[in-house]
Amino acid sequence: MHQADVIVLYNQEVAHSCYKMRFLSSEIAESAKPGQFIMIKAGGEFGPLLRRPLSIHRILASEGAVEILYKVVGTGTRLLSETKKGDFLNLLGPLGNGFKINTDLHAAVIVSGGIGVAPLLFLAEKISEKKIDLLILLGAKTKNDILAVSELENLGGEIKLATEDGSLGCRGLVSELLEKRLGPPGSPVSKIHCFTCGPRRMMARVAKLSKQYKIPCQVSLEAGMACGIGACLGCAVETKPREWENYFASQPHYQRVCKDGPVFDSDEVVW
């Protein structure tokens, strides 16, 4: 973990209100795992008070560079989008626990919704390196919101697309693609793992399907954060208590998205 000023190499709009930024940080490039995130201070002294948590999209190891993919949703990300090549940004990271890729994994399916693809490219690259069978399901509202397709295609795996308005790929939800792919309930699905990131309702559907088909599923959650290191307890997500934590029995049980996540087993989360 590392807090530093980094130099921006690239910051371009890649789709409507979605930007890709590349910056130099050999420390993060060397140590980051897929699913981890960074906290970026946007807008200098007069910018918003808090850092913004953003997933690591890709690592360019040979250049010691890191990429993030983000959507402009408010003041912080708008200021970030105005950052130019050569500007400095202060960031903290890599943070969080990241995805777990089991050594005995044979096949993986990545299910992405909209900007949720941000942490999944890095993951897809790592999975491909390990010669694990990979299916990528990319969903979004319209074809303009489908991101990172060419980078994912370069990995050589199978990709299926779905848009809610039918402007690209199948018309419908990405979770329906997953359901179709898994076949009728009760079909044999051996040692496949599911990894997902996207809008909460979409992840909830993917989690439910994974449970039905008894597939392990990891979800990358999003939350507003203040510290990013587990101190402020601001980014709580309700989860099911583990047995040894039953002293909380009468109260809901929370974990920190920043420190205990952002990746959780989908079974843990109270959807």
């Binding site: 973990m1 203040a226 709580a236 002293y247 049980h253 929370y254």
Partner: protein, 319 residues
């Protein structure tokens, strides 16, 4: 303040004494922003801090409020964490061993649902050798049980602090709420009841609304405002309270730089706490300590204690 030359360039003395707790410098984290120390321990040298102040502890564990718990506002943030904590027993068993490793004095913030719980927690914590002092929270705005009911009424403050005073010989600090008509009255009650020092201010109650959904941005509806936005309010309250009580004060509220910290000391605080600023910059406390030292040396002030309460108010007859 009068400027002296400092030809020998000796390092300024930053040490202060708060209610018998000796601090190597006046800088400590604000309760609730520093977890149980271990969260920041990976990133900063805890031995450099004046003191450690941990997240408020209650007798039994609290799981806190449902999310969303925080929201950013102009120059600040609102939080409604809801006093999530592991409870006294787990704190002693699981969190104290880490905190024991440092030479920095440990101040434990605590609260109760009832006076009885306040006493019980204070008693249990007082049995722990490694605890240097207690900070009693009578001011959390986000849960009914956070003590705010005690902290907004001088008589109830007096009663509660007196009861806790009877069960502990540790230095007892009382953390005051700004959400009152007259903070001086509460401060005087706490002092009279035996508080050895006062920490002020806790967060200021506020709220934020999402216009597009028509809903509050926090699940709890209201939350506590912190950050640079509240600094002027905090400074005013520290100054007001410093003029009526004799016990030392710990200034809290939006401190983000060494200059902010020193302003609080000029207003009358003997030490300060840094909270929200640590979220944006994890190394802020060591930076503030260095910055204070530099300021004192450049201005020829060899001892920081000279600054405490040194505010010049020429036209004020009470001065």
């Amino acid at each position: 303040m009068k400027k002296h030359s400092n030809p020998t360039k000796e390092r300024a003395n930053l040490s202060v004494d708060i209610a018998g707790i000796k601090l190597k410098n006046p800088v400590m984290p604000a309760s609730g922003t520093f977890g149980y120390g271990e969260e920041f321990g990976e990133y900063i040298d805890i031995n450099k801090l004046g003191a450690i102040v941990v997240k408020g502890i209650s007798l039994n564990p609290h799981s806190g409020n449902p999310p969303p718990r925080i929201v950013e506002t102009a120059g600040g943030m609102l939080n409604a964490i809801g006093l999530e904590n592991v409870g006294t027993e787990a704190f002693i068993k699981k969190k104290l061993p880490f905190l024991r490793k440092f030479s920095t004095p440990l101040i434990v913030n605590f609260f109760g649902k009832t006076p009885r719980e306040y006493k019980e927690v204070a008693k249990k914590l007082s049995e722990q050798e490694e605890i240097a002092g207690l900070e009693m929270n009578i001011s959390c705005p986000n849960v009914k049980e956070g003590g705010i009911a005690f902290g907004i009424d001088p008589k109830r403050t007096y009663k509660l602090v007196s009861q806790v005073r009877q069960v502990t010989t540790l230095p007892l600090l009382v953390k005051l709420s700004p959400n009152v008509t007259d903070i001086k009255a509460i401060a005087l009650s706490a002092e009279e009841a035996g508080a050895d020092g006062l920490s002020l201010i806790n967060t200021i109650t506020g709220m934020a609304i999402d216009l597009d959904t028509g809903k509050p941005k926090l699940h709890n509806i209201t939350g506590g405002l912190s950050g640079p936005a509240i600094k002027p309010v905090a400074l005013r309250m520290v100054w007001e309270v410093s003029r009526v009580v004799k016990v030392p004060l710990i200034g809290i509220g939006g401190i983000s730089t060494a200059r902010d910290a020193l302003e609080f000391m000029v207003a009358g605080a003997s030490a300060i706490q840094v909270g929200t600023a640590g979220f944006t910059n994890i190394t802020i406390m060591p930076e503030i300590i260095e910055g204070m030292k530099d300021y004192l040396e450049v201005n020829g002030i060899i001892d920081i204690k000279r600054l405490v309460g040194s505010l010049k108010v020429p036209d004020n007859p009470k001065n």
